[in-house]
């Protein structure tokens, strides 16, 4: 059944790409300036956070700009993927009601849209890396794997949320609150060691926290990713995708009626 569905998705690969790309273009209103403006937001955020944390609160972290920027980019991806993905079905009501193709295509392409947006932001990060002359080690080979786990977790959550959102429209508001809280509960602005030991354990239950920490270690600080971390990320992405698909396929037959 899984291989059959994968085959089906492969057959629709053009559609997935077309939907993702057109959504991406729409978000930036199809203009070069649009892309440019979209970069201003994370840059502004970075500047403010950098000034506040390094000067006022005197956080002592090596390459703090890069530390912040990578955290923000990864969190932005997670938050965008789930927010766009959550509305993937509800926002395409017209198509869902009129035509059939596997409905998870909508969600997958939403996550790809978010990915495209993040890739765009990563160019700035790469420029910063070059500017600060950060040395890169072979440990960066872990990075693609870590980012892959991030994508899969986001996709699983998006599937779950998009299905729930069809039936319960307040899910979007609840999720926005969760994301807000998550932003501060995840070590994006600070390092993990500012917390006491027992609180750290709780924070590390959040797979996104582990992803951001490991990504920083491997990309910026030339350190290898911890086996425990990788295992945890791997298991949480499988669980997230599994639950996402289970709920999604349970609700999917009634999408066209309920939407």
């Amino acid at each position: 059944m899984i291989t059959k569905h994968l085959n089906e998705l492969y057959a629709y690969r053009n559609l997935i790409w077309q939907l993702a790309w057109s959504e991406f273009k729409l978000r930036y209103k199809n203009s070069i300036l649009g892309y440019f403006w979209s970069l201003l937001e994370p840059m502004l955020m970075l500047t403010v956070l950098y000034v506040v944390f390094s000067n006022l609160m005197r956080v002592q972290v090596e390459y703090f700009q890069l530390f912040l920027l990578l955290g923000i980019i990864l969190w932005n991806f997670f938050s965008r993927a789930t927010s766009i993905g959550m509305n993937a079905i509800v926002g395409k009501a017209n198509m869902v009601k009129k035509i059939y193709f596997p409905r998870d295509i909508f969600v997958i392409s939403s996550c790809i849209t978010a990915l495209l947006m993040s890739i765009f932001e990563s160019f700035i990060f790469i420029m910063f890396m070059a500017f600060f002359k950060v040395s890169i080690s072979t440990n960066i080979a872990y990075a693609p794997l870590i980012l892959f786990f991030l994508f899969v977790i986001s996709l699983g959550l998006s599937l779950l949320l998009s299905a729930l959102n069809v039936f319960y429209r307040d899910v979007q508001f609840i999720w926005q609150v969760v994301l807000q809280a998550g932003f501060f509960a995840t070590p994006i602005l600070y390092t993990l060691d500012i917390f006491p030991e027992n609180l750290q354990k709780i924070i590390l239950l959040n797979p996104i926290a582990r992803i951001i920490i490991s990504a920083r270690d491997t990309i910026i600080y030339s350190a290898p990713a911890g086996t425990e971390d990788l295992l945890f990320m791997c298991i949480s992405s499988i669980v997230s995708l599994l639950i996402g698909y289970l709920i999604f396929s349970r609700f999917e037959p009634r999408f066209a009626e309920e939407i």
Partner: protein
């Protein structure tokens, strides 16, 4: 071989009285059972469509036609029964699904063609052809929101016909667009049919159904009334027997209005009621009969029809003349005749009885027609005059336009 098999198909919708749309409502209402209505949209539908066959689905609004088509297209899922599809489906449920107003014509064509199942190379090859066929070469890179709705439909249509369907599902596609567009649609359909594409066609345009479909399925309130030869099924639909065919208000109201005791009607000022005369001979009722002898109020154009006038002569009358006059819906007098003009000798009338006016072939093409029925003396003194009190509908069976058919042929 069968392209589509539908077996014992049921579809039930649950319509909650109060819809819970939020998680909050769902949680707070966990212990309160939800009240809902069940609506049986489809009940025990069975049919197969063979390869290369064209099946029409007809029925009044709300009979479940579109629901059935959506289930075949897999947009809705059946409550019970099976639908087996053995071919690739291209649904034309609506033209231009997924059009984005903020993207250009070319971009939209690419997305729409992908949705319709075309491959990337195919799309790139046919892109120019599509734009050209839609007549929009100058507007390739114009955003879709700046297009008129007609231009959008043309764009969608010319994209859609580039697909290579095996099964085509059509839901009232012909209803949109002007004459020229409809003609284009019909040409394309003809071509598909020649190429052996299996077609399922939902339409209110019985003329189109008659021309395209080999077999037709008639639905009524979600039930399969009859499936068979298109001509017979359309007859069944149009003449569907007294109960099934909706009686137009004109006829129905009048038959009840005529019934109450005359004293009541006499109180009203004579000139305002559409009925006058001294009622020595009274017209009790007027019925329209179709070619099967059933009462009805809808007729195929060019079919025979009988107008039956029931009268009650309160005393012996020997000079009565029965007459009718036909009006268009706007009240233009189209035709009139009476027994005297046709030199029909009425015997002396007494008591109850009826006279029939036989129409061999209804020459009207389409529309609603009003009928005046009267009985009067030789010198035009009315016994009973029902002015435009009856009506019937004519449903087109040809492609000519206008109110009436003029028998004619082309020649070189």
């Amino acid at each position: 071989m069968a392209a589509i098999e539908v077996e014992h198909l049921y579809k039930t919708f649950r319509i909650p009285h109060e819809k819970r749309t939020t998680l909050f409502e769902a949680l707070t209402g966990v212990f309160k059972p939800q009240a809902y209505e069940t609506f049986h949209a489809l009940k025990d539908i069975n049919f197969t469509v063979e390869d290369g066959e064209a099946l029409g689905i007809i029925g009044v609004n709300g009979s479940g036609k579109s629901t059935l088509l959506k289930i075949i297209a897999n947009v809705l899922r059946p409550t019970g029964g099976n639908v087996n599809i053995h071919r690739k489906i291209t649904p034309f449920l609506e033209l231009g699904v997924g059009f984005q107003p903020d993207l250009t014509a070319v971009e939209n064509v690419k997305i729409y063609a992908t949705i319709m199942g075309m491959q990337k190379r195919e799309i790139n090859d046919k892109l120019d052809e599509i734009i050209e066929f839609a007549g929009l070469e100058k507007f390739r890179d114009t955003k879709l929101k700046n297009f008129s709705s007609g231009m959008q439909v043309r764009l969608a249509f010319s994209t859609a016909i580039q697909t290579d369907p095996e099964i085509l599902l059509l839901d009232e596609v012909l209803a949109v667009g002007d004459m020229e567009f409809q003609q284009k649609c019909l040409d394309v359909l003809n071509q598909y049919q020649k190429d052996g594409v299996t077609i399922v066609f939902v339409s209110h345009d019985l003329g189109a159904v008659r021309r395209f479909c080999d077999r037709t399925l008639l639905l009524n309130k979600g039930e399969q009334v009859v499936l068979g030869d298109t001509g017979e099924v359309i007859d069944r639909y149009v003449y569907g027997g007294g109960e099934e065919a909706p009686t137009p208000s004109g006829n129905k109201n009048e038959s009840t209005k005529n019934e109450p005791d005359p004293a009541e009607t006499e109180e009203k000022p004579e000139n305002k009621t559409p009925r006058w005369g001294d009622r020595t001979v009274e017209i009790i009722n007027v019925e329209f009969h179709d070619k099967f002898g059933n009462k009805g109020s809808r007729f195929n154009s060019f079919d025979p029809m009988t107008i039956r006038i029931f009268y009650h002569a309160h005393k012996k009358i020997s000079d009565a003349v029965f007459g009718i006059a036909l009006y268009s819906e706007n009240g233009e007098n189209l035709f009139g005749t009476n027994t005297e003009l046709k030199n029909f000798e009425l015997e002396t009338l007494e008591g109850k009885g009826h006279v029939d006016l036989m129409i061999e072939r209804i020459p009207m093409i389409t529309g609603r027609f009003l009928l005046t029925v009267a009985v009067h003396t030789h010198d035009q003194k009315p016994y009973d005059w029902h002015d435009k009190q009856y009506s019937f509908d004519v449903i087109p069976t040809c492609r000519d336009v206008g109110l009436f058919e003029v028998p004619c042929n082309w020649k070189i």
